[in-house]
Amino acid sequence: MNIPFTNKKLTWMSGCLMAIPILIILGALTSAGTKQYGEISPYSIALITAIILGVIVVLGKGANKKYAGDVEAFADKQKGLSDIAAKYNKEISNLESSFKSEISTLVSGKGSQLKDIRKNYQEKYWDQKKGYESECNTFLKEWKEKHGSLHLQDYWKWSICIGFVVILCASSFSFGLATPPSPSVSPMAALMDTRSWNADNIPMPHLTDGDQYVSNPDSILSQEVVDSINVILRRLDDQFGIESAMVIVGHIDNDDPVAMVRGIYNNYGVGRNDRGLVIVVGYLDHSYFIAPGRSLEGDLTDLETNHLAQDYLIPSMKAELPDSGMLYLARGTYALMSEKDMPQMTALKSNADKDDDMQGAGVFALFLALFGGWGYYGRSVSRKMGLADMKATKLRSNPFFLYFGEDSGSGGGFGGGHIGGGYSGGHSRSSSRSWGGGGSSHSSGGYGGGSWGGGGSGGRW
């Protein structure tokens, strides 16, 4: 028996229609969140949300105390509905027992008789269900006439709904915070007007601070990555006696990294005992050169420097991720010298992006927990207060189920929701500071007077 329109279907349709403006509002909140990027932390939003929910719960507890009579009335209602459900569930159980004993007497092969018996008991089940619903409605009608509109019921209905709305809005806003807007100007384009550098005008932080090996005058690398690379190059210096100078600029004079390498070696003498390593990258020129000093050529051959560039530098630079490229290049060089496993570049992400992803996952988990926790709390309150009327009590599902007619009635109440969408990161990125410089130093600056023999490898991407 097909029923074209039922209350349930109307509810679904109206729900779908209501979802459209809700989604529009949530989208607007997400967009607003992107504009706030970097100023408010998603964790702060989650904390504020949790506080709001806590306030609702505390107020609810107070309301329960204030309207103690309403609590008793809800308890009576719940008991009444439960008793009715118990009575009809017992009748359905008896029907089921009778059905089983009847079909056990059937001779096998009598499929049509079984079908008729099923249909017969199905109709009896529907009769029981109608009786259950009728008796529940009568009870509720009498109960409402007796108690009227209860403040507590209204309070909890609205509170639970508001709680969900707050969580949805907060999570959408946080999602906007986690997704920074695409810059109107690409990072590459922002560097286009930078000056060109050569060995005479390039700042060399190592001259004044022995812990600084990276020259980043155009701020292509983030300060965090510069610090990480300095740590690795410091280890290279201490463990293998390799004094390094890593230079990354937007433009190199005459687009000639070899000349710049030569000039750096001649001007500053990178490398004690000729074990220097100079790396020059022209980010906007798409050119690079890796130049080991005379005595280092045996340990870091032309082919090895080429492989380092091919495996780490070039793929990252092509993906416009200079942070990844330079960091992995430094790591790869260290791993090569220490004969350890070479680092695997599984995903071209800068450390800032990785940090964003980790924090984004944390924020996502937090809001998921909030949503689930509020859903569970709302469900328990709903049951206790009898907010969902009949659906809080459960009539047994149809044990004589057939593929026509309405299916079994399932228990209702509030189910757990879920947060839509995902997070790609939730950390506000700190702005790049100026190159190198600063920091405490364990050693005074200056280079060791090394020279270059022409070895190494370079190229373009």
């Binding site: 030569r262 032309d302 082919l303 270059w452 023999g453 022409g454």
Partner: protein
């Protein structure tokens, strides 16, 4: 007759002055000689670096020829050209003590011809995608690039050392001693005329 000569310990003043001048000249002479020896040694050491760099290139060529032969055996003329040029270049040994301008030019010309032959070989290999994709070939190309850089640096270092030496021996009064002790002007690398021509590629 008055005698203006003061006698001190048996030595006359004139004698002392003459002695002092001679001593100064000797000290200067020794210092200048040692200085010229030092810069000459630096120049000869730089020449050794140049020869080492060229030899490094020559050592790569047999491997390169073998790899190319595996994919382009019929490019016989080009391959033989490289082999012959290598043989000629490696046969010219120039001693640092006998580095005359003529011998240096001869050396440079031979190496220039080898560069031309190599350039033709690399250009020809562009027509063979399988060869270009061969890992050994790519590695050899990279090594050749590195070697060319080393040759450039070695030549620059040599030229700088020779310039320093030539300036030292030609400055007055060093030039007086240079002639006496046989410090001759050294030749430098000049721009290779052959390198100005692009290699001719015939497919």
């Amino acid at each position: 007759m008055s005698n203006n000569v003061t006698k001190t310990g048996g030595l006359s003043k004139n004698t002392m002055i003459i002695g002092a001048v001679v001593a100064i000249l000797v000290i200067w002479g020794i210092s200048a000689y040692n200085g010229m020896v030092k810069v000459e040694e630096e120049a000869t050491t730089a020449w050794a670096g140049v020869q080492s760099a060229y030899q490094r290139r020559a050592d790569l060529i047999p491997n390169l020829v073998n790899v190319v032969k595996g994919y382009a055996a019929h490019e016989k003329e080009t391959l033989e050209g490289v082999v012959n040029a290598r043989a000629k270049a490696t046969s010219i040994n120039v001693d640092a003590d006998d580095l005359t301008p003529e011998k240096l030019q001869q050396f440079q010309q031979a190496q220039g011809e080898l560069s031309q032959a190599l350039g033709r070989l690399i250009a020809v290999s562009e027509a063979y995608p399988d060869l270009k994709a061969n890992e050994n070939f790519m590695d050899l190309q990279k090594q050749l690039e590195g070697t060319e850089n080393r040759i450039n640096e070695a030549r620059n270092t040599f030229n700088t050392a020779v310039q320093t030496y030539n300036v030292k021996i030609r400055k007055f009064p060093n030039t007086l001693l240079a002639g006496i002790f046989g410090f001759d002007k050294m030749a430098k690398f000049e721009a290779d005329a052959a390198a100005q021509k692009a290699p001719e590629v015939q497919f």
